[in-house]
């Protein structure tokens, strides 16, 4: 049997950096959810994932395990992939389902009626709202009037990591993300936000970001308690 060179762990790690916790909108790598990641000389990738609690929601957990599997499997030089979620009440169903590429409904026989596309999209829309606050806050602080924000396009905003991230999230949802796209859009429809709706839109963006930040704070604190550094 012929095979290419084995993928170094660094390549796998970079692949896992593209996998996000859908609720927290952060990579599982920076959140500390990747307990270990190895690749054998033959290209067999073995990834262990861990979460802040035993009872983290099974649908989001499934998405992370399935996304990690796909990211690793798409890495050049990887021959086989095994992703194991540890210390979780639904670990057996999730691990077996992802290994068999069975999908969520088949993995939770009788307990689910649909795959998780709509769930993922709903949380991407939240990420777009939160990202809107991240991009708009510095503009407002620099003196841009809220009403002026709705006239701006993405191309008008100075480049930043936050802007690039907002563009990527919008693109994932199929929302306009090019230079000529309005900065303020309804994340459901993609339409430019109406003038009278701007203040409320910005308030919703702000509270969505605050919610995600609070969740991330709590999850990271719980993870630290569960897996103290060095263990």
């Amino acid at each position: 049997m012929t095979r290419g060179p084995a993928a170094p762990p660094r390549t796998i790690w970079h692949a896992l950096e593209t996998v996000r916790d859908p609720e927290l909108d952060e990579p599982i790598t920076s959140l500390g959810f990747v307990a270990s990641c190895t690749v054998s000389a033959d290209g067999d990738a073995r990834i262990r994932l861990r979460l802040p609690t035993y009872f983290c929601a099974p649908n989001f957990a499934y998405l992370m395990v399935a996304d990690a599997y796909e990211a690793a499997a798409g890495t050049p030089g990887v021959r086989s992939v095994q992703v194991v979620l540890e210390d979780h009440f639904a670990a057996d169903a999730i691990n077996a389902g992802v290994a068999a590429q069975a999908g969520f409904v088949a993995s939770f026989d009788g307990e689910a009626v649909a795959e998780l596309h709509e769930l993922r999209a709903a949380f991407l829309r939240k990420a777009v709202l939160a990202g809107t606050d991240l991009v708009c806050r510095p503009l407002l602080a620099a003196g841009t009037a809220p009403g002026r924000l709705r006239q701006l396009t993405l191309g008008d905003v100075p480049p930043s990591r936050e802007l690039a991230r907002l563009r990527r999230r919008r693109a994932e949802l199929g929302l306009p993300s090019g230079d000529d796209a309005p900065l303020l859009i309804d994340p459901e429809t993609g339409d430019r936000v109406g003038a009278e709706a701007v203040p409320l839109h910005l308030r919703r963006a702000r509270v969505t970001r605050a919610g995600i930040e609070a969740n991330t704070s709590i999850c990271s604190g719980m993870l630290r308690h569960r897996y103290p550094a060095g263990r």
Binding site: F55, N59, A122, R203, G211, N215
Partner: protein, 358 residues
């Protein structure tokens, strides 16, 4: 009561527990869930100050003396409200039942209010049990945990027809306050179990009931806030917000408080320690000392006054539960303007907007 700088605070701790999660109470075959549940709670405790952390053995089963000292003697509470959670598939006698709570309430008259609970999947038998509990314990509130596992089902929604039967029964029985606690599972599992839109519908359909969304809908604060502006009978339970963020992440605590003051308003926010997850002493004292940071990042959030704190720490809950508060603790009526009032115009704009999840 708590006194600081000449100000007196009447304290109602709206969220306390007296649980037994020790191994002798674990259901054989379900030990991993019973253990996982209490370890998860214990991890929450780690977000409080280090000197208030307990070893897991004590955390699994603390004593009556611990509770009376922590909640009343040290924790300043005038009245504490028990919020039961049963979890009988995992804990033999239940995790924290109305009966267990009532043992303490009967021994210490005037100190506790015993809320009870129901589960719409328990049918007619559950309705009968609810009636008996209200009669026996005088419950004026219920705690609902929507992610409880029950005979193969992993959860339920307030909009389920069976739940509406129970809400109707609550009205008949004189239960006014519905505390809603969302958890990680629901049927079907592909839906977001933490979604609070069912509370929105139920609050519209049952305007005489008050719906207190515990831990302010965490992890769905944004959905909760948006819903609470539209429903006059929806309240924010602050358990987990103060305990989980005030010490561990003060900056994010300030942001969440700012959002709650803006969207929900100080008249509809209720302190709850979530004891024994966190001891109330540091929460009450820290909250009284707390001020919104004076930096630009927080400049457009409503400010909090001494009157705001008095309301959140006890007066708001006293109104919901008809608790008599001595005059020395009350705030002048003029101080009763909601903190969010200055932004009322902006909040009113939302009536023209489509609402997510409804």
């Amino acid at each position: 009561m708590y006194e600081k700088n000449g100000e007196k605070y009447f304290i109602v701790d709206t969220h306390t527990h007296y649980w037994n999660a020790a191994p002798d109470n674990w259901v054989p075959g379900a030990e991993q869930y019973a253990k996982g549940w209490i370890e998860c709670f214990h991890a929450y405790q780690s977000l409080g100050p280090g000197e208030t952390h307990w070893p897991i053995e004590k955390f699994q089963k603390y004593s009556e003396d611990d509770l009376m000292k922590d909640v009343f003697e040290d924790g300043h509470a005038d009245v504490a409200i028990f919020q039961p959670t049963y979890l009988k598939e995992w804990y033999k006698e239940g995790f924290n039942t109305t009966e267990r709570n009532a043992l303490l309430a009967e021994k210490h008259p005037g100190k506790f209010l015993c809320n009870t609970r129901w589960d719409p999947r328990d049918g007619d038998e559950g309705l009968e049990h609810l009636r008996r509990n209200v009669e026996r314990f005088g419950s004026k509130g219920v705690k609902l945990y929507t992610a409880e596992w029950n005979a193969g089902s992993r959860g339920w929604k307030l909009t389920d027809p069976a739940a509406y039967r129970y809400l109707e029964a609550c009205q008949e029985l004189g239960i006014k306050n519905i505390h809603v606690h969302k958890g990680p599972t629901i049927w079907p599992l592909d839906k977001d179990a933490f979604d609070v839109s069912d509370v929105d519908h139920a609050a519209t359909d049952f305007p005489e009931l008050n719906f207190i969304v515990e831990h302010v809908g965490l992890p769905r604060i944004e959905d909760f806030c948006f819903m609470a502006t539209q429903e006059p009978n929806v309240y924010a339970g602050l358990a987990v917000v103060i305990g989980g963020l005030m010490h561990a992440r003060p900056r994010f605590f300030a942001k969440v408080m700012g959002e709650l003051l803006f969207w929900v308003g100080e008249d509809k926010m209720l302190f709850g320690s979530d004891y024994a997850i966190w001891e109330p002493k540091w929460q009450v004292e820290g909250f009284v000392d707390w001020q919104m940071p004076d930096t630009e990042e927080f400049s457009d959030y409503p400010r909090m006054t001494t009157a705001s704190k008095k309301k959140m720490l006890g007066l708001n809950a006293a109104k919901l539960y008809d608790i008599q508060v001595p005059a020395e603790f009350l705030v002048p009526a003029q101080a009763g303007e909601p903190a969010a009032r200055e932004d009322a115009q902006l909040v009113d704009d939302r009536s023209q907007q489509p609402v997510a999840g409804t």
